[in-house]
């Protein structure tokens, strides 16, 4: 009877969101790639996730030792994080539980954010910044506003938020804002570099290299199709090279989103560290 009550109590204390998230995190590295990019049909095919990359160019597989080791590190990291989230969720009353949860819970969320942001920023740079003519103003304003809001969030959280879950959500929102600020800063640096070293943009570079050469760059944002065209004139002739570019999110990314949602829920729901409990008692 007593054991039954203890078991019921144990089941009640378990952070079930965390259990699901932990298991999903351990499985995630083996659930396939998250995003793909292809140029032409077989000219270049790339499929990637934070845990691996497969690249073939003109029928040949490309390998990078650096990429392989970094992805191996990320795989081990997420599996350890998954194990920690699982342990923390099964034993949420332990003194180490909150620390382990903090360590692992937001990892997949950030990985998913980075995987979307990287091609997004890359496409923006290629489509809008490389052709030249952009001004720094909008990016500096964007970075400043993001930082000001992030600082404001931090201040408000410290001043007014009492519940642990609300503090955690606010921390996440603040970090997202800081990441957006970092993105604006990266774009500002790119605009500055293009203005400094390519005053006429990539078009000027192409015209200098090939007389009569023009380039029309068009890259999809994260998902979709587009075509980039290079043209050149030689005497009475003209040549055009068209590269169809295709991008898309893959099934692995859907699982990553599910994992990220469960991880964040588990993190928000999880009891705080012992000092938080002490504070509450007082």
């Amino acid at each position: 009877m007593n054991m039954k009550i203890n078991l019921r109590k144990l089941v009640r204390t378990i952070n079930w969101f965390g259990v699901i998230a932990g298991i999903l995190m351990i499985v995630l590295p083996f659930a396939g790639r998250w995003w793909r990019l292809s140029v032409g049909t077989g000219a270049m095919d790339l499929a990637t996730s934070p845990f691996g990359i497969t690249t073939t160019a003109f029928g040949q597989t490309m390998e990078s030792t650096l990429a392989r080791y970094i992805f191996l590190g990320a795989t081990i990291s997420i599996m350890i994080a998954g194990l920690f989230v699982l342990l923390a969720s099964l034993l949420p009353e332990q003194w180490w539980s909150a620390r382990l949860m903090d360590f692992g819970a937001t990892k997949v969320f950030w990985m998913a954010i980075w995987l979307v942001m990287t091609p997004l920023i890359g496409a923006y740079i290629v489509n809008n910044i490389l052709p030249g003519g952009q001004t720094l103003g909008i990016f500096v304003v964007g970075a400043t506003i993001s930082i000001v809001i992030a600082v404001l969030f931090k201040f408000l959280a410290r001043k007014f938020l009492k519940k642990l879950w609300s503090k955690r959500l606010m921390k996440l929102a603040t970090n997202v804002l800081l990441m957006i600020a970092a993105m604006f800063i990266v774009l500002a640096v790119c605009v500055f570099a293009v203005g400094k070293f390519l005053p006429n943009g990539v078009q000027g570079l192409v015209s200098d290299a090939i007389p009569g050469g023009t380039v029309s760059i068009n890259v999809p944002y994260v998902s979709g199709s587009a075509a980039t065209t290079f043209s050149m004139s030689m005497g009475s002739g003209q040549a055009t090279v068209t590269l169809p570019i295709n991008m898309g999110l893959m099934s692995g990314f859907a699982l990553a989103i599910v994992t990220a949602v469960f991880s964040i829920l588990a993190w928000v729901y999880h009891p705080g560290p012992p000092e938080e409990k002490e504070k509450k008692k007082k």
């Binding site: 000219a43 003109f58 029928g59 990078s64 080791y69 970094i70 620390r99 590269l243």
Partner: protein, 185 residues
Amino acid sequence: MNKETVLGVLLFMLSLSLAVVPIVMAFSAHGWDPKATLLGDSNPIETQFGDLQNLNLENMFGNPDFGNLSNLGLTDLLSLLQGGPINITIPVTSPLNFPITVKNISGNLVCREHGITLGYFQLANEVQFPAYGSNVLTIAGSANTAEALADVATHGGWPNNTGFENVTLKLEIYGIVIEGTIESI
């Protein structure tokens, strides 16, 4: 230092080592050579297209089949030109070590002496060549106008001083479309 702090430091060290150690290992595996570490040993562009400099075009084209065009008398030639497209077949062996599709060949045939467009030609269907493979290009040509037929009649046969204008060649290699146009040959 309490156990909470120790755990925090350990977790930070774990994160740091999982980020740094793989990079150090990758570089040490290639003797600290950045290029080899980053790009590996494979160079697909060199592997696939490196041989283009040493292309052997000698046996690329077989004997074109002009049908009975070459030995026609004027009357027969005029009647043939008015009869519709004339197909010329050209056997081609690709000297390339990658597949290629000829999507289009087109242009105008002109009499340079009188500045008259005699007709136009176009690839009948797109043709695929596997690596080092052979196939046949069928080019359909048509006489253009009554003016062109008159020019053939004036010359008493096919004009000697002919040329090509607005010649277009459209190729597809691995889905990348390369199109070239030359105004006059």
